[in-house]
């Protein structure tokens, strides 16, 4: 896969360790200063004029959130210079964003978790579960959600990541090795462990658990398979689930 603009920038700055991804320094290198202030209307903003810019980040946000916001605004600075955008910085979401926001999100993901550093560390963990996700999130100072998306997108294992609120599925991401016919249910099935965590007093799964695939997929052939599921709560009304698909027939094309 080709080196992205964010990854090239990190290499130009000699970054060889996740701890060296100093976003304020990277911003300065690109002509932008980072400020922290209480923001009421949004997580972050960028105002640029000619070759200089000021990125203001909500001082009350968590560290991973601040880092994501800076990286996201740098994405705008690189790709949308000279444009005025109505921006809504959300946590890294793989779907449902406007085009410009997605471009900035992808740039942020590459800057925070460049593949040349992420892959070698991810490969040290043979199993995709939330323990692995936490370890990588800690190493790259990102949220668990952002690290989990990166892990799934890089095809660490044949897996899906699904986010649900009580209103239904918010988004999902599928590893390239998982055929597109596997599409997670919109509403959580009561048979899934995630259901108990989202709607009941269920605690986070400490390890992936075996569950019938029909709990997650409406497809006719789902009843033939079992998958592994691990769910954690990410917000009062939000759960994040890793689905591991290991049956060969599930991964075979139609």
């Amino acid at each position: 896969m080709a080196v992205t603009a964010a990854e090239r920038l990190l290499q130009e700055l000699g970054v060889t360790d996740p701890n060296e991804i100093d976003l304020e320094a990277i911003a300065y290198h690109l002509g932008a200063n980072v400020r922290y202030a209480p923001l009421d209307g949004c997580e972050a903003r960028i105002i640029g004029f000619c070759g200089s810019a000021i990125i203001t980040v909500n001082a009350n946000s968590s560290l991973p959130r601040k880092r994501f916001s800076i990286a996201h605004e740098l994405g705008h600075w690189i790709y949308h210079r000279g444009k005025s955008l109505v921006c809504r910085v959300e946590e890294y979401r793989p779907q449902g964003s406007l085009a410009a926001e997605r471009v900035a999100d992808f740039y942020a993901a590459d800057l925070l978790m460049p593949r040349f550093l992420f892959h070698p560390l991810a490969r040290q963990h043979p199993t995709l579960n939330f323990k692995t996700v936490s370890s990588l999130a800690h190493a790259f100072r990102t949220s668990q959600t952002a690290a989990a998306i990166r892990l799934v997108e890089t095809d660490h294992s044949p897996a899906m990541l699904v986010c649900h609120s009580q209103q239904g599925r918010k988004w999902f991401v599928r590893a390239p090795s998982v055929p597109e016919r596997w599409f997670p249910r919109d509403r959580l099935d009561a048979e899934s462990f995630a259901f108990g965590i989202l709607f009941g007093a269920g605690r986070n799964d400490t390890m992936p658990r075996l569950v019938g695939a029909e709990a997650w997929f409406e497809r006719w052939e789902a009843e033939r398979f079992e998958i592994h599921e691990q769910t954690i709560r990410t917000a009062p009304d939000e759960v994040l689930t890793i689905l591991l698909l290991s049956a060969e027939d599930m991964l075979r094309g139609e």
């Binding site: 290499q11 130009e12 700055l13 000699g14 970054v15 060889t16 060296e20 100093d22 304020e24 320094a25 990277i26 911003a27 300065y28 290198h29 200063n33 980072v34 400020r35 202030a37 209480p38 923001l39 009421d40 209307g41 949004c42 903003r45 960028i46 105002i47 640029g48 004029f49 000619c50 200089s52 810019a53 000021i54 203001t56 605004e73 705008h76 600075w77 949308h80 210079r81 000279g82 444009k83 005025s84 955008l85 109505v86 921006c87 809504r88 900035a104």
Partner: protein, 147 residues
């Protein structure tokens, strides 16, 4: 080499030039053969040199990152603002955001003016002044007085 020119130094310079010229004019295969004759391993030598260059590049790039870190640290400062007429500030910012793209060369990714709090409005205007998108506040006020 930098130093005082002497007859001895001139002689050494000529010797270095001749040696370099000799190496550059020798075919690659002859150099490789010579290295092997001396017990050298061309592949290993090439790998060592490649690694040396890569280390040098990374070190130079890390120096760039260190400079950026120092620059970012210098630029950390807190802004102290004076009293502001919020209605006027909102009007001012709305005028900028509503005009097609604002001043030429302006980059902006932020919420709509109507969604911004008073303090967000003030800090956005401060950013615009600091970036030079407007004339300095004092000039502007004087211009208003003259009018």
């Amino acid at each position: 080499m930098i130093g005082k020119k002497t007859p001895l130094r001139d002689g050494l310079d000529r010797l270095v030039d001749a040696l370099v010229e000799d190496i550059l004019s020798t075919p690659d295969k002859d150099i490789l053969a010579e290295l092997k004759e001396c017990g050298g391993d061309p592949a290993r030598n090439a790998a060592e040199m490649r690694a040396f260059f890569e280390r040098s590049i990374v070190a130079a790039n890390k120096h760039r990152l260190a400079q950026a870190r120092a620059g970012a640290a210098r630029n950390r400062k807190r802004r102290v603002g004076g009293p502001v007429d919020i209605a006027q500030a909102r009007q001012r910012l709305r005028a900028i955001l509503d005009s097609a793209g604002g001043p030429q060369g302006l980059t902006l990714a932020a919420r709509k003016e109507s969604e911004l709090s008073d303090s967000d409005i003030v800090s956005m205007l401060d950013d615009l002044y600091e970036l030079g998108a407007f004339p300095p506040k004092d000039d502007e006020e004087e211009g208003e007085k003259e009018n």
